[in-house]
């Protein structure tokens, strides 16, 4: 199918954008930044086009379902939300330094989706449990949460790198990373957006589960891991209230939080539970 071919090429688009962002960080020439943004935006545009194409294709196959129904499609959408959210943040903050830290996530998700032999890129019809109007809202809210947490992860890595930038260091790369206070603030904003979205994702999931399985909460491993993630980010948000707990705690907790996100997303497929349709 043409959409999967386009999507596999977009993998390289994000990789290219990442390289230009990296060049910008090392060389500091603004032209690299402009090229990077251009490549990222074109990739995102093509990415959106391919996703819509896939949606249309599913109608042609007589299924007519949103492209969020298996692991392949969810990875594609994950990459989309990350690059979309990143470009918004870049545009709002007028700062291109995070691209080198965030776009690799989009690239990796695309590469995993397109080139892993275990992942089928076919459009598969929906099993009864997934035939619900809640599918779209649940998936969109969850993945925007994951993407926001992905960005927060990027900012946290940058935060720790920035700490290496002392008076005596001569690394221009480190010098170009924004000040720790700014990173901390951006990190907080991403965690707040992610937390809101994750909450919405859990709530929509609960309403859906209540319809499909007859209970809104059942301690299924995926549900439990989403709660664990929620608790960790709740801790991140509260840690800002503790006097003397600098950005370091928050950055560290955000990194741990993102690992929880990854377990919620992927790891849970190896644990028994009802969410197993997301495995292939």
């Amino acid at each position: 199918m043409i959409n999967t071919i386009i999507l596999s090429y977009i993998t390289f688009g994000y990789f290219g954008a990442f390289l230009f962002y990296l060049l910008l960080m090392f060389m500091g020439r603004t032209v690299f930044g402009r090229i990077a943004t251009f490549v990222a935006m074109s990739s995102l545009a093509a990415h959106s086009f391919a996703v819509i194409l896939r949606w249309v294709e599913s109608y042609r196959l007589g299924m007519g379902q949103p492209p969020f129904s298996n692991l392949y499609e969810s990875l594609i959408f994950f990459a989309w939300t990350i690059s979309f959210l990143y470009l918004i943040v870049e545009w709002r903050t007028k700062n291109k330094t995070a691209g080198a830290f965030v776009l690799p996530l989009a690239f990796l998700a695309m590469a995993y989706a397109s080139f892993s032999p275990n992942i089928t890129s076919r459009i598969q019809p929906l099993i009864p449990a997934l035939q619900s109007n809640w599918l779209i809202t649940h998936v969109i809210t969850c993945f925007f949460a994951y993407a926001a947490f992905g960005l927060s992860f990027g900012f946290s890595i940058m935060y720790f790198l920035k700490r290496l930038d002392t008076q005596t260091s001569h690394s221009n790369f480190l010098k170009r990373i924004p000040r720790a206070v700014i990173l901390d603030d951006l990190n907080y904003q991403m965690v707040a957006i992610g937390f809101l979205m994750l909450t919405l994702g859990i709530i929509t999931g609960s309403v859906w589960a209540s319809n499909a399985w007859g209970r809104y909460w059942g301690w299924d491993p995926k549900e439990t891991w989403s709660l664990i993630t929620w608790l960790v980010y709740a801790a991140v948000l509260h840690s800002r209230m503790v006097r003397g707990w600098s950005g370091k705690t928050i950055a560290l907790m955000s990194i741990i939080g993102f690992f929880c996100v990854l377990i919620t997303y992927f790891g849970v497929n190896y644990l028994a539970g009802l969410h197993s349709y997301a495995t292939s």
Partner: protein
């Protein structure tokens, strides 16, 4: 214990529970222990028993003691949640008076402190008098802020406006919503239940079984499964499960409904969800009978197991005595009772050709497997209609509406907490040489970047108005 001592103790306890550090620690502990339950398969999963059997007796005892096979319902897990709830309540109570003060405080408009260290681009010069400048500022601010306080001094005028005072309560809304959700969960666990019924097509039941406990539960009405449908995609993946149900009160059918996955049905306060299904050999069997010579003509018959049917030629009766799977193929035991003489019994198979390859020929030569053992007939098994038994979850949870209210409140609370802030704006018009100077300053409860943007915009707007009128003049 004396009263002062107990007071000291209460204060200590209060201080302990009102700390955000405790919140942080409890959140992290809850997160960490929750992981355990995703690694140890929880009851009532089948894996849980298998997992428990692999443990050494000592470990098993320890795990059982700690309730690790059903840890989310254990006392200690609930205790942790209770501690978090207590922490949340005391934290909120502890901080509320200060919040109320910030909410209700009305700062004076003629303060100079906010203007200390003001950056140069937050003030500008106009060539008019303070009076003219102040009246223009007053007009402009009245459009932007709801209530604007004004204080006039000798050579200057001060204005104060604010926005989003209610933002201070966002956190309390979120905390309240957490408590409401927990209450909803408790209500569900005390007054709700989950039960399960299995109904064969065409049959009715009035008893369900409480999940995990196998306690019978009287529904108070009868449910009949009229039909169960299952549909598959070409790939073999399931497409649809559907049970057509009829609900009977005192033997009278009062409601018919189809239950599908994602489309539960409610009756008398109980909700029915499509949960499982089982295919069972049905009662109706499709047969063909032919007669000698040539066996050219075949008669189609649908018979029910165990019910005698007359032979086409009237020589007696036959019936399907038993149905069984023999290897891959269904087999029927035909029993023929002629008018006179002995009973003849033999097995017939569906798909005889494959059976011939699978079973030993000596066996098939035996009269027990001869479909033409009773002259002049020959029997063929065309198929068995599969019947289904539908598995339905029957539940009632009065806590659900409470939980949804909590969820709504939580989302609302987040919007207030994350996206609203209490912004206070001061504008000062003071005489400056031949004209006057307008300065803009402000404070915010959060999001300083947003405040800077607002102050910048405000300064630019005021400047544009002032200079606009100046040029006209």
């Amino acid at each position: 214990m004396t009263t002062t001592q107990s007071k000291v103790h209460t204060q200590g306890v209060w201080r302990f529970f009102s700390s955000v550090k405790l919140t942080f620690v409890l959140l992290v502990i809850l997160a960490v222990v929750s992981i355990l339950g995703t690694l140890i398969p929880q009851m009532p999963q089948r894996e849980s028993v298998e997992f428990a059997q692999r443990l050494s007796p000592g470990t098993f005892q320890l795990f059982s003691l700690l309730n690790l096979f059903d840890m989310y319902h254990s006392v200690w897990f609930r205790l942790l949640m209770g501690l978090l709830a207590l922490n949340l309540i005391i934290c909120s109570l502890d901080r509320f008076p200060a919040t109320w003060k910030r909410f209700s405080a009305a700062p004076r408009a003629d303060r100079n402190k906010p203007f200390q260290g003001l950056s140069s681009d937050r003030s500008f010069f106009i060539s008019e008098s303070t009076k003219v400048g102040a009246s223009r500022v007053a007009h402009f601010l009245a459009d932007t802020y709801k209530k604007v306080a004004r204080v006039d001094a000798a050579d200057s005028a001060y204005f104060f406006g604010e926005k989003g005072r209610y933002a201070h309560f966002g956190v309390y809304i979120v905390h309240l919503s957490v408590l409401i959700i927990l209450v909803g969960g408790l209500v569900g666990s005390f007054f709700g239940f989950e039960a399960f019924v299995q109904i064969l097509e065409g049959e009715k039941v009035s008893t369900a079984f409480i999940r995990n406990k196998r306690i019978p539960f009287d529904l108070g009405f009868e449910v009949r499964c009229d039909k169960f449908f299952v549909d598959f995609y070409e790939s073999g993946a399931p497409k649809e499960f559907r049970s057509d149900l009829t609900f009977l009160l005192n033997g009278r059918a009062v409601k018919t409904a189809s239950v599908r996955v994602n489309h539960p049905v409610e009756f008398e306060g109980l909700t029915f969800h499509q949960s499982t299904y089982e295919s069972v050999p049905g009662q109706r069997i499709h047969l063909k009978i032919s007669t000698k010579p040539g066996h050219a003509e075949k008669i189609n018959l649908v018979v029910e197991q165990g019910k005698p049917v007359q032979l086409p030629g009237g020589e007696g009766h036959f019936q399907v005595a038993e149905m069984r799977m023999m290897g891959p193929a269904p087999a029927a035991l035909i029993s023929i009772q002629p008018g006179q003489g002995k009973e003849t019994r033999f097995w017939i198979f569906k798909d005889y050709e494959t059976v011939k390859q699978r079973l030993p020929p000596e066996m098939l030569r035996s009269p027990k497997f001869n479909p033409a053992a009773f002259e002049p007939y020959r029997f063929y098994l065309d198929g068995v209609e599969t019947g289904y038994a539908t598995g339905l979850q029957v539940s009632r949870d009065p806590g659900v509406p409470i939980v949804w209210i909590g969820c709504f409140l939580m989302i609302g609370g987040f919007f207030v907490t994350f996206f609203m802030s209490h912004r206070r704006i001061w504008v000062r018009v003071s005489s400056d040489g031949s004209g006057s100077r307008i300065s803009v300053a402000g404070t915010t409860s959060k999001n300083p970047v947003g405040l800077e943007r607002e102050l910048g915009q405000l300064t630019a707007d005021l400047k544009a108005r002032s200079h606009g009128t100046e040029q006209k003049a």
